[in-house]
Structures are given as C-alpha cells and as structure tokens.
C-alpha cells in the first residue's frame, strides 16, 4: 500500500512537470508579448529590453522554464522583487504579488464552494437516483428522471442571477454570496455560500441522479443480486447491501473527476457570484497574459485531478476486493 502510494505520487509529479512544461511553451506560442503590455503606449526599444530582462524573458525558453521549476523546490531570487522562498511560483506580471500566496489566499474560497456543493450534490443525487431505481418505471421514477434532465440543461449564469434576485434581493431570505472564512464565523460562512451551493447542485445533481439510477438498475439485474434474492434476503438488503456496492464504483469515478474540475476553479460560478477563488484568478491571468499566475493555477487544477485520481483508485480497492493496488 505504502509503496503503491509512493509510486503513484511520484508518477503524479512527473505528470505535473510535463503539464507545466507544455503550458509554458504554449504560452509563448501565442503571439502576445507581456513585456509590451507593461511598456505602455510609447514604448522605447531600450525600455522593452529592460522589462524583458527584468522579467527574465531574454533568456532561452528552457532556461526560463528551468528557473521556474527550480524555484518551486529551492526558491529563487528576482531582480525587482527580491528573494522568493520555496515553493516559489514566481510573481504575477500583472499585480506583482507572489503567485503562491495569491493561490493560498484564494484556495479556501474554492475549497469551501466545492466541498459544500459536493455534499449537497452527492446527497441529493444519490438519494433521488435510489428512489428512481427503487420505483423504476413508476411515477416517482419518471419525476426524478425528468426533473434531473431539466436540472442538467440549466446554466449557472442563468439560474444564479435568477435565484439571487428572488432569494437575496426580493425575499431577502439569504445574504448575498461572499466568502467569510469558516474560522472567523462558521454560520456566516455557511449562509453566505448557500446560494452558490444550491445553484451548483441544481446543475450537477442531475448527473448523479441519472447515474445512480442506471447503475442501480443495472446492478439489480446482475446474477449475484438474483442469488441474494434466492437466498431469502429482503428487498431492502438486496438493494442497499448488494446492488449499491456495485453501483458505487462508477459514481465515485465521476465524482472524482467533477470534484477535481471544481477544485481547479469553478470559473463560471465564481464569476456569477463574484467569489474570489481560483477560477477568478485563472480568468484574470488569461486576460492579463500573466504567465506565472497562469502556470500557478494550471498546476493547482492539474494537481487536483491527479491526486483525486489516486484517491479514487485507492477507494476502488476498498469497495471491490478484486482490485489490487499494484
């Protein structure tokens, strides 16, 4: 188990390095010059050269990338910003703030948004999917199935402002979404994030309803489930202990991917509710041609995916004894 984890984490690091290298080179493949943006309207060639030098952009690409990579593990020195201790992801071209601390500042927002929404999504998705599978073909199934399709076809930027208008402005039931650190005031943290959670779950729950339903229906038709019934197990036992066990695996797989995607930045949700999370950081980095910031958020998103993949694989082994971690 330990050696498995060590190997998987090492593999994950390699993947992250490759992803960062690709991002780095792609950035320069786009004909936009961040140095020119700094330079202003009347740009003297000498000024441009100086800016380039200060940003480290006058060196060959692989040297620049090497400096960036070494900085993560050993820290690095900048001409204009001074020393940047490890893990150093450089300084933002646009705001001159250290990328690492910008991400650390924003991450709790994204994390709160994602985890809170996940709880709601999983709870409702699995519950409604179970109900639909239990009552397959009956009215309750049809209601659950069709409402999930409606939910899936809605868009955050439509439902978000709509619900905000009614629940926040008109009825004043909940406060306007913002981020209050949970350490500061757990209740405010909760109430201020309620709306984004609800909106995210309206969109995502549908997937889990559908998947839980179809997986349960499939599992209930399996031979071993029939055996369980032939042994005299009650319908409830068959449903929850036998069929559910098999249905869990694909659900966990998709959940791992969804969670990672959200952790890498729920861009639209954050924009819709003006939450200052990783997603917002990513949007700004692209707008500003801000290479260090862009690399930073890319790495966070990629790391979320790779790490959650490992978590999902380990969970497989717990659910299904046929899966060996090797």
């Amino acid at each position: 188990m330990t050696s498995y984890l060590v190997r998987r984490v090492a593999g994950a690091l390699v993947i992250l390095i490759i992803i960062s290298a690709i991002t780095f080179y792609l950035f320069y493949a786009v004909p936009r010059d961040p140095a020119r943006a700094f330079c202003g309207k009347i740009c003297q060639p000498e000024t441009l050269a100086l800016i380039r030098h200060n940003l480290g952009m006058d060196e060959p690409l692989f040297v620049q990338y090497w400096h960036w990579l070494v900085g993560i593990f050993a820290g690095r020195e900048f001409v204009q910003f001074g020393s940047c201790p490890a893990p150093c992801l450089g300084y933002s071209f646009a705001t001159q703030e250290p990328v690492f601390s910008a991400i650390v500042d924003r991450f709790p927002v994204t994390l709160s948004l994602t985890l809170g929404a996940s709880v709601v999504i999983l709870a409702f998705g699995i519950l409604t999917g179970m109900i639909a599978a239990w009552k397959v073909g009956q009215p309750l199934d049809k209601i659950a199935s069709s409402s999930s399709v409606i939910g899936a076809s809605l868009q955050i930027y439509f439902v978000g402002p709509l619900l905000a208008f009614y629940l926040v402005d008109t009825m004043q039931l909940i406060p306007r979404p913002s981020y209050v650190p949970i350490t500061e005031n757990p209740l405010d943290w909760f109430t201020h994030l309620m709306l984004p959670w609800v909106v995210l779950s309206i969109i995502f729950t549908a997937n889990y309803t559908r998947m839980t339903r179809s997986q349960m229906v499939e599992q209930l038709a399996e031979d071993y489930v029939r055996t369980a019934r032939a042994k005299g197990m009650s319908s409830r036992t068959v449903f929850f202990r036998f069929a559910w066990r098999g249905a869990m695996i694909p659900i966990i797989t998709i959940f791992g991917v969804d969670l990672a995607t959200l952790l890498g930045g729920a861009i639209i949700t954050e924009q819709t509710f003006s939450l200052h999370g990783i997603g917002e950081l990513a949007v700004r980095a692209v707008q500003n041609t801000d290479l260090p910031m862009l690399l930073g958020v890319t790495i966070v998103g990629a790391a979320a995916i790779v790490l959650l993949n490992i978590v999902v694989d380990v969970l497989y082994a717990f659910i299904d004894p046929r899966v060996r971690l090797s």
Partner: protein, 354 residues
C-alpha cells in the same frame, strides 16, 4: 401452520400428496414485442429424497419454471398462472414475506455460473453465513462456524482460512462447491440446481454431481436438476421431464425415458448426443430447425415444424391440436403417434446408430 384450502379443482384431492406439486403452471412475460409464453400448462411432481432432471434446449422454459417456484420473477412484467404446492403451502399466491422466509431456507437454488452468481464484494463465509443468520437467527460467530462446517462438508480444503476469501480467489469448481454450501446451509427440503455443472470442466462436473448425490442421501433433499445434458441426467436423476417450448414433451423414470423414449423430440435429443460405442465417422444428428418463437408459438403441437412424422398421426392433427401429456401418471408423452408407431420409429431412428 394454517391449513390452506385446495383451490377446489374438481377431482384434485391432495391427501398426503407429493412433496412438490406443480399444476398447470404458466408463465408469461410481457415484452415490447408482445407476450412471451415461456411456460404453458406444465405439471409435475417431486418426492422427497428423489431427483427430477428437467431437460430441454435453451428457451424451453426450464429455468423460468424454477424461478417461478422461488417466486423470483419480476411481478411487473410477469403473469404466473396455475399452482405450485410445496407440501401444504401454495407458492404462487404466497406473499413476499412468506417467500422470503422460504427462499434459501426450505427451497434453495444453485445457479449455473458461480462466478457471476456469487457477490464479488463479500467473502464466501459472509455469503454463506448471512443465509444462516437470516433464517436461523444465528449470531455472527455461529454463522461463521456454520460456514466453515459447510465448506468442509462440500470438500473445500482448509475451510477455516478459505471462509475469509473472496469468490475471485476460488477456482471454478471451488466456487460451485461454495455455492452448494450456501444453498445447503439451512438444510433445505428442496434444492433447485440450474445447470450446476455447465460452467465447469468435465472432471469437476462429476465431482459436483457426486457431491449433490451424497448430500441427498444424507439429508433426503429433493432435487430438481435443470440441464441440457442427458448424460448428467442419466447418472444423477430418478425421473426425467423433457421440456419443449414451455411444455412437457415427455416424462418418466430415467430408465423409461432414456431406454424407450417416446416423443420424437426426445429421440432428437438422444441422437444428437455422442456415444462412446458408436463410430466416430457417424455424424451426430442434431434436431433440425430451431426452437420455436415463444412470442408466436406454432399452432397445434409446438414441435410439429421440426418433427419428421406429423403426417403419420393423421392429416391435420399435429398442425391444429395441441397434444397434452398422457397417460396422467408414469411414463407419458405429448405426441399423437400411437405407441406402436413410436416403437417402430424409435427402433429405426435410434438403434441404427449403434
């Protein structure tokens, strides 16, 4: 137990009737294409301590019949008619709770493919033990001890360690043994084995069949053995029921049916079987044609499209009228040919192969 009144069919007094009695069973599935008549007017009896072999092609209704005995059909899409009596309990009209108490306890089933029929997520010991816990109210410890005992009884070496293994850690034959252990854990009165050896190789087949026989002698279990292999029937069963298109084609003791088969379909089954003493150059004769569609079963005798002799019984008889099995008891078959004709044809058809 309360006395259940008999359904008042004229002339059916059960008295101390057979242990299991299936009367005029019909099973229909509603599908998108129409109604499938999977079993149509099937009757048979089974006594304690004996084995009934049910033989027939795929789709002849063997498994459907036995799933009906256990009440395992999905009631939303299935219509079941007739009666199934297990001693003084009617099973078709029994409620869910009654059936749940019965399954795995008095009536147990062994399925064809032990790999898919065992839960991959639970240990063998747990899967055996939970039946015992459910029906006998045993504690976890007792259930585990019982599981070890059952594994030992079906001949699994080192049952104390094997009990904690998962099905994928067992070989095919071992899995089927574990399946049998699971079926027998509550000492059932009736054991339904649905092609228990089909997924196994031949040497293991023989071991499993011997095991079933041995356990039957010990506990007096009644066994229904579903198979398409007449060889298995010959070695294991006391009585045989040959099924065709959801109906009984022939019924009798193993000796009667295999030695003096009367129904042309039974002849076909027998002559499609390889024999050790026949020349390898003589090709096997399969039953020509394909099993009939149960959506639109043929008129008259369901076998007539594949039968070589429908004209012999009269000009229109086989095409228009459905034969029922006769005589009522003993060696019977559902065919309009006279006994004399059958004897002659059989001699010509089967015995010239030898």
């Amino acid at each position: 137990m309360t006395t259940v009144s008999w359904s008042g069919e004229p002339g059916t007094s059960r008295g101390p009737g057979p242990f299991l009695s299936v009367r005029d069973l019909s099973v229909e599935f509603s599908t998108e294409d129409g109604i499938v008549h999977a079993v149509d007017g099937l009757s048979f009896d089974l006594e304690k301590g004996t084995t009934l072999g049910i033989v027939g092609e795929s789709g002849s209704g063997k498994s459907v019949t036995n799933l009906a005995i256990l009440g395992l059909h999905d009631p939303a899409h299935t219509k079941i008619g007739g009666e199934i009596w297990l001693e003084d309990q009617e099973l078709i009209s029994a409620d869910r709770g009654t059936m749940e108490k019965l399954r795995g306890n008095r009536v147990a089933m062994i399925f064809q493919d032990p790999l898919t029929a065992l839960s991959p997520f639970h240990t063998i010991g747990r899967q055996i033990g939970e039946v015992y816990r459910k029906h006998k109210g045993a504690s976890k410890k007792e259930a585990r001890d019982r599981a070890v005992e059952m594994l030992r009884r079906v001949g699994i070496p080192q049952p104390e360690t094997r009990v904690d293994h998962y099905p994928h850690e067992f070989s095919g034959g071992m899995r089927q043994r574990a399946m049998i252990a699971m079926a027998l854990v509550c000492d059932p009165d009736l054991l339904i084995a649905d092609e228990p050896t089909t997924a196994l190789d031949v040497t293991v087949q023989a071991q499993i069949l011997d095991l079933l026989k041995e356990l039957q002698q010990q506990f007096g279990t009644a066994i229904i053995l579903i198979t398409h292999d007449l060889g298995v029937v010959a070695g294991t069963a006391d009585n045989v029921l040959v099924m065709y298109a959801g109906r009984a084609a022939e019924r009798g003791t193993v000796r009667e049916v295999l030695r003096e088969p009367r129904h042309p379909y039974t002849w076909g089954l027998l002559s499609s079987m390889p024999r050790l003493n026949s020349s390898v150059d003589v090709p096997l004769k399969p039953v020509r044609g394909t099993p009939p569609s149960l959506l639109n079963p043929p008129s008259g005798c369901p076998f007539h499209p594949r039968c070589d002799y429908p004209k012999l019984a009269g000009p229109e008889l086989c095409f228009n009228q459905r034969p029922s099995i006769s005589p009522e008891t003993g060696h019977g078959d559902a065919c309009y040919l006279t006994l004399e004709q059958k004897r002659e044809l059989r001699t010509a058809k089967i015995e010239d192969r030898a």
